[in-house]
Symmetry: C2
Subunit: 230 residues, 2 copies
């Protein structure tokens, strides 16, 4: 049986890593099952045994793959008869740019808006680890990094313009149906939904409607996971 | 014979529209010739006869297509046996997002950095049209729109991060060889090269090296066109 290590806090039924969500949707797209293994920030030795410091980690038979993008490429190559994650070879080349844009604009744009809420999901040991590791990365306190989020959310919404323009002519980034570009984009929104009541999108935004469609995908898989109402 | 209307100023050998450059490279990718027809901003009636207000306008036999993105889709559909512009159907779906990103981040980011130099390429009548139409669009003077470009170029360079990250793992957005994603991105840089000596990129930037490769593509087609040294 496949196994997917996924980040949780005190509640194992509230997985919140944007990268793990990308992988969960990619698995669903390929019609593949995986046993979900809850994992917490401080449990480094568990995944170190698989050669990784971060989740997602996917164990598939005798193969172990980590990094959500590497997992997507692995799934596409290993299960070519299942629906393509990228719409074929040309899509596979282009997806690197979209993955980079997603990391910079979406993960990077959302992080300061929800980071203080992440602390609420963690026990004391994990919260201490999260704080010290992130403050070392940002070179400032979490509170400074998160300051002024009402102003920052405007910049975040503006940064979605290329996404919004695309949604004027197609319901999903992948075209008529979602594919891995949509999972790249949706992971960060599902992360936010799991951890924070902060409102990222206005209801009249095309991106809001797209997010609703993604919450409904695969029988409402993402909507069924614990989160705040949007 | 195919005909491509392309924007020029006083010098017909210095075409500078970013959108026309996208089309020229797309035609080269497909191995298709087109007679170049110089066109200036005020010559509205010439292209109005083809149902458009802007260039590029491509006349291909009894078909006329305008808008660079529509032309790319037309070429892909009409000449399926020539090399694909998008690497196949999946790429064709994804390209809409990249086209939107290119318009926002590249065309939008470069415009204030080079706009005052565009005026130098135009005769009095075209310069007056360009000034009044752009000032109406920006709701400010061209000089205000262009102010402080030394500071703005830093933001522009930062906005290239997703592009730069992609170039760490592949030489072109299209993968091992350029395709329409690269032409979308290169059009704005070739626009800047044609009109302005202002330095957009540092030499140690991966995007700089990519631009050099694009200038060399198709036998150095873009490099052979008049422009400033970079």
């Amino acid at each position: 049986m496949r196994k997917l290590y996924e980040l949780v806090g005190t509640d194992p039924e509230r997985p919140f890593s944007p990268y793990v969500w990308r992988t969960r949707l990619a698995l669903a797209h390929k019609g593949l099952d995986a046993e979900r293994v809850p994992w917490r920030f401080v449990e480094k030795e568990v995944i170190a045994a698989h050669g990784s410091e971060k989740v997602p980690v996917l164990v598939d038979g005798d193969k172990t793959i980590h990094d959500s993008f590497a997992i997507a490429l692995y799934l596409e190559e290993t299960y070519p008869d299942r629906p393509s994650l990228f719409g074929g070879p040309g899509g596979r080349e282009y997806i690197r740019f979209f993955n980079s844009w997603g990391d910079v604009a979406l993960n990077g744009g959302i992080f300061p808006l929800i980071i203080t809420d992440i602390l609420q999901l963690l026990d004391a040991e994990n919260a201490a680890y999260f704080r010290s590791s992130r403050e070392a990365r940002f070179k400032m306190s979490i509170e400074d990094f998160a300051s002024n989020r009402e102003a920052k959310v405007d910049g975040f919404r503006r940064s979605l313009d290329p996404f919004r323009l695309t949604l004027r002519s197609q319901p999903f980034l992948g075209g008529a149906a979602p594919n891995y570009a949509d999972y790249i984009a949706f992971g960060p929104f599902q992360w936010a939904r799991a951890v924070s009541p902060f409102r990222l999108l206005n209801e009249d935004d095309l991106v809001y409607a797209w997010r609703e469609r993604m919450l409904d995908a695969f029988g409402g898989m993402a909507r069924a996971s614990k989160g705040f109402s949007l």
